[in-house]
């Protein structure tokens, strides 16, 4: 029994300690940082007043010490930040919806295919997802670039109808295309896992009862697939809410989302407390969304 307990500790302790130190402690540090004052030259102001004038000279003395709600006050004082959060939610919702519409036929086709082809079809979905994230975004820079065949095609069609030519790259459209492209497998896989489990007998029964194709889909397949839809939606929505690389590369100067705002606080303007505040707001948003999806995905007990 003693030996059993020893192995238990030997196996459990290293990963627990590692994750406590490198995941929990940093998260707590981030929370504390959001309540501090920014330093004069980036970073943070000291927690206590410098004891000697020399120390004040080397550390920089802004006269602000201790903890403060300043960063939060700043966040709520400017409507701009609420707008950026709202915009991120809109982009995340739009990407999730487009992913769902594109993923459903693929997941359905795979689930209906013969068993021996399914693994190959899944592999074909995952394969592009395995190539580097930046490369997948970069590919769209080529396709949507002003000199590309695709851009020429779109613009000649627009001209045909008397519209001004448009710049596809560095636009919200490009951001949406890149986002959908990168996150599509996250929607296809959970949907497929769900659709694969459906009992085809239900569809036959619906047909026998006179349901047409659309009725069979909307009344039988779709309601059954909702848990898969919700988990896929969560897997797309949450990472999109915090992304910064896709708007950074494919978006224009106006296409700033929460992620870009956070990145700027750490690598641009260097306002750590405000960056931490934004991160915590993002974390709260993620928790809220996760809670909502869990609630939606909960199996309904018939009354």
């Amino acid at each position: 029994m003693n030996k059993f307990r020893l192995t238990r500790w030997l196996i459990s302790l290293p990963p627990t300690l590692f994750l406590l130190i490198f995941f929990v402690v940093p998260s707590l540090i981030m929370i504390v940082t959001s309540f501090r004052y920014p330093g004069e030259y980036g970073g943070l102001a000291p927690l206590t007043a410098p004891e000697t004038p020399e120390a004040a000279a080397t550390q920089g003395d802004s006269g602000l010490y201790g903890l403060t709600l300043e960063a939060y006050r700043f966040f709520f004082s400017d409507i701009l930040y609420a707008e950026i959060f709202l915009k991120s939610f809109v982009v995340a919702a739009a990407s999730t919806l487009i992913c769902l519409i594109m993923a459903y036929p693929v997941a359905m086709l795979i689930a209906q295919s013969a068993k021996k082809y399914r693994n190959l079809m899944i592999l074909l979905v995952v394969l592009p997802f395995a190539s580097n994230f930046l490369i997948r975004i970069y590919a769209w820079m080529i396709i949507l670039g002003p000199e590309s065949a695709f851009s020429h095609l779109i613009n000649s069609i627009l001209q045909l109808f008397g519209f001004e030519p448009v710049m596809l790259l560095f636009s919200p459209f490009a951001v949406l295309v890149g986002t959908v492209y990168v996150h599509l497998p996250f929607m296809i896989l959970p949907l497929y896992t769900n659709l694969e489990k459906h009992d085809p007998v239900l569809l036959d029964a619906a047909q026998d009862l006179g349901a047409n194709r659309w009725q069979r889909f909307w009344l039988v397949t779709w309601p059954q697939s909702l848990p898969g839809v919700y988990s896929g939606a969560a897997l797309v929505f949450i990472p999109v809410l915090g992304m910064f690389a896709i708007p950074d590369i494919l978006g224009g100067t106006g296409d700033i989302l929460i992620g870009n705002l956070i990145k700027d606080q750490f690598l641009g303007t260097r306002d750590w407390p405000f960056g931490s505040t934004l991160s915590i707001m993002l974390m709260l948003a993620v928790l809220g969304v996760t809670g909502l999806f869990t609630l939606l995905a909960r199996p309904r007990t018939p009354k």
Partner: protein, 261 residues
């Protein structure tokens, strides 16, 4: 039924085309004898030649390889332990600790680790901080794979070993370890791929010293789009393709192991 199938086939095929066209374009243009990614001029290997003479790029590749090997090694050991601990000892906090870093947007882990390294550890950001950061999110993936493997096994094998007088260590070394080996290998491979691929967390924990492959690619994309990026992208894709084929081999190994036991 026939017509639905046709419509389904058509839309699904379009999505598959959407998935592959961008990557095919990158590969094709990497052999194009033109500075512009616009039209096909002629075949060349110039961009690959340039790439292999780009010292900064080679150093970045070496650094990334070093980071990926170290992080995946660390994550495999810790993740296997975590998977075992979660499955067998039902440690309450461990699932949260292991899976939360994966569930959050990456930028949050990046930011909190950046603040932690600079404020608490007083660490100069570089290879070490990146290795730790990558390990933090890879542990969860290894733990998930190992736990799934353990869940699929019959616990009576371990009881039998104990009844036959094996010590816990013997049971682990002779029974558990060989049985979960395919899962450990798959987890290691997955960690390697995730680490060498990671951009967001690397971006926050990299510091300013050493060149790292994804950061190098990012900088190139931001400055100017040259076919050299196509060449490195193609090579990168080739690497992941090989890794996936190996992982697939291991996966069929997992299936065979199930048949045997």
């Amino acid at each position: 039924m026939k017509r639905t199938h046709l419509l389904l086939w058509l839309t699904a095929s379009l999505v598959y085309i959407f998935l592959y066209i961008p990557l095919i374009i990158v590969v094709v243009y990497s052999f194009n004898d033109s500075r512009l990614n616009a039209e096909w001029v002629g075949f060349t290997l110039d961009w690959y030649y340039k790439l292999f003479h780009n010292q900064e790029m080679l150093l970045a590749a070496r650094n990334s390889l070093f980071i990926a090997v170290s992080a995946s090694l660390l994550a495999t050991i810790l993740g296997t332990m975590a998977g075992l601990a979660i499955h067998r000892y039902r440690i309450r906090v461990l699932p949260f600790l292991a899976f939360a870093p994966i569930a959050m947007p990456e930028i949050l882990l990046g930011v909190s680790l950046l603040l932690f390294f600079l404020q608490v550890m007083n660490l100069t950001l570089g290879l070490i901080s990146i290795i730790i950061a990558h390990t933090t999110f890879c542990v969860g993936f290894v733990a998930i794979i190992v736990r799934a493997r353990l869940q699929g096994m019959d616990d009576s094998i371990f009881e039998a070993a104990r009844d036959l007088g094996a010590t816990p260590w013997q049971t682990f070394r002779l029974i558990t370890l060989p049985l979960i080996m395919p899962a450990i290998a798959a987890g290691a491979l997955m960690s390697f791929t995730l680490s060498i691929d990671d951009f967001v967390i690397t971006f926050f924990t990299k510091g300013i010293g050493e060149p790292i492959l994804p950061i190098q690619i990012y900088t190139m994309i931001k400055i100017s789009v040259t076919p050299e990026i196509n060449a490195i992208s193609t090579l990168f894709m080739l690497l992941t393709l090989v890794l996936i084929i190996i992982a697939n081999r291991l996966d069929s190994g997992i299936l065979q192991g199930e048949k045997k036991s």
